[in-house]
Symmetry: C2
Subunit: 202 residues, 2 copies
């Protein structure tokens, strides 16, 4: 099994939302072939200032198997950018699986890609995120939510556990455990456990 994975970059994407999942999926290059895409190919600036090269545009005839949309402060502009949202909807239509980390689910919802789905997002931005989309079943308490061909995770670091879930789904527990061991990370394997759903005093 080999999946073409497109990671969508945009100005103000959150670094760990991208490079957490990419670290884990990318450690299995025989199974996950990663390409960085953006509204336009070229250098893209993250929330934290690091600039990363996107080698392709989402406005193309690309047909990846799986798309990953990160969050970050840049999502605040994207959810209002109707040209981008229309391009994303067309592009995502051609993919078999659509995933997001953190406030990336606000972008998916604004593009109409979560209608009729269960989904989650960052817990600090939950009230903002959940205003997007008409018929999205938002789940507050979840490390990630997998509903058919959509996978959405909670905030930032939760993207790594989503990547673990994706690896287990496609390749099984043993492969996921081997990856976690090599990278010295303990995947959270229960999607419903979410210590961050309550407030800091909760």
């Amino acid at each position: 099994m080999q999946l073409d994975v497109d990671v969508v970059l945009f100005d103000g994407f959150e670094l760990l939302d991208v490079f957490g999942p990419v670290e884990f999926l990318g450690s299995l290059p025989e199974h996950f072939r990663i390409t960085y895409v953006a509204p336009e190919a070229g250098l893209v600036r993250s929330s934290q200032g690091a600039e990363v090269q996107a080698t392709a545009s989402i406005v193309s005839d690309r047909r990846p198997d799986l798309i990953l949309v990160p969050g970050g402060m840049g999502t605040r502009a994207l959810v209002l950018d109707t040209n981008f949202l229309e391009s994303l909807a067309v592009y995502a239509d051609g993919a078999s699986w659509v995933t997001s980390v953190c406030t990336g689910s606000a972008v998916l919802a604004a593009a109409g890609l979560l209608e009729g789905y269960r989904a989650t997002s960052n817990k600090r931005a939950f009230d903002w995120v959940t205003q997007f989309g008409a018929e999205v079943d938002w789940v507050r308490e979840a490390r990630w939510v997998h509903d058919r061909d959509r996978w959405t995770s909670s905030g930032v670091a939760a993207g790594m556990d989503l990547a673990g879930a994706v690896i287990r789904h496609f390749l099984g527990d043993q492969v996921a455990e081997a990856v976690a061991f090599d990278l010295e990370y303990a995947f959270q394997t229960d999607a419903t456990v979410d210590p961050f759903a309550a407030g800091p005093q909760g």
Copy 2:
């Protein structure tokens, strides 16, 4: 308190070794000002293929407060590159704190920067790493090791817990807890707990 943090990129650096710590430190831009440096400024290709822009060279008059050296397959060439190691030694001499993630400690050791220090590294590459340096007190069982002005972490994901330790050291527990809560990550706060020191069957 504001520290200038230089993150050293090189061909074949490991993505999460860099962007794990940078996510956490970078979420406190009023305290940690991050610059990406490399042997030469320009695009630098990671182990997983992503290309990241380095805006400065280590062969310059830079005087950062703290240096972070990641690991990755690229370290295999760096430990043999005497020009690079000499440049790194001079550059690191001007910094108050020198840190590494994963096999980055092999690079520090090869540059003579861990002589007389306790240090750790990736557990899968431990036998390779520990051949570098003459008088390094290598610690196998540790999530990270802090010895005076040197901080070294275990493999890949351990760099995030090292970043947590750095934040606690400079800014206290409450700031670190707030960062972890915002980014939905549970820092490991005990440096001596290392489930990855034993083999997969251990």
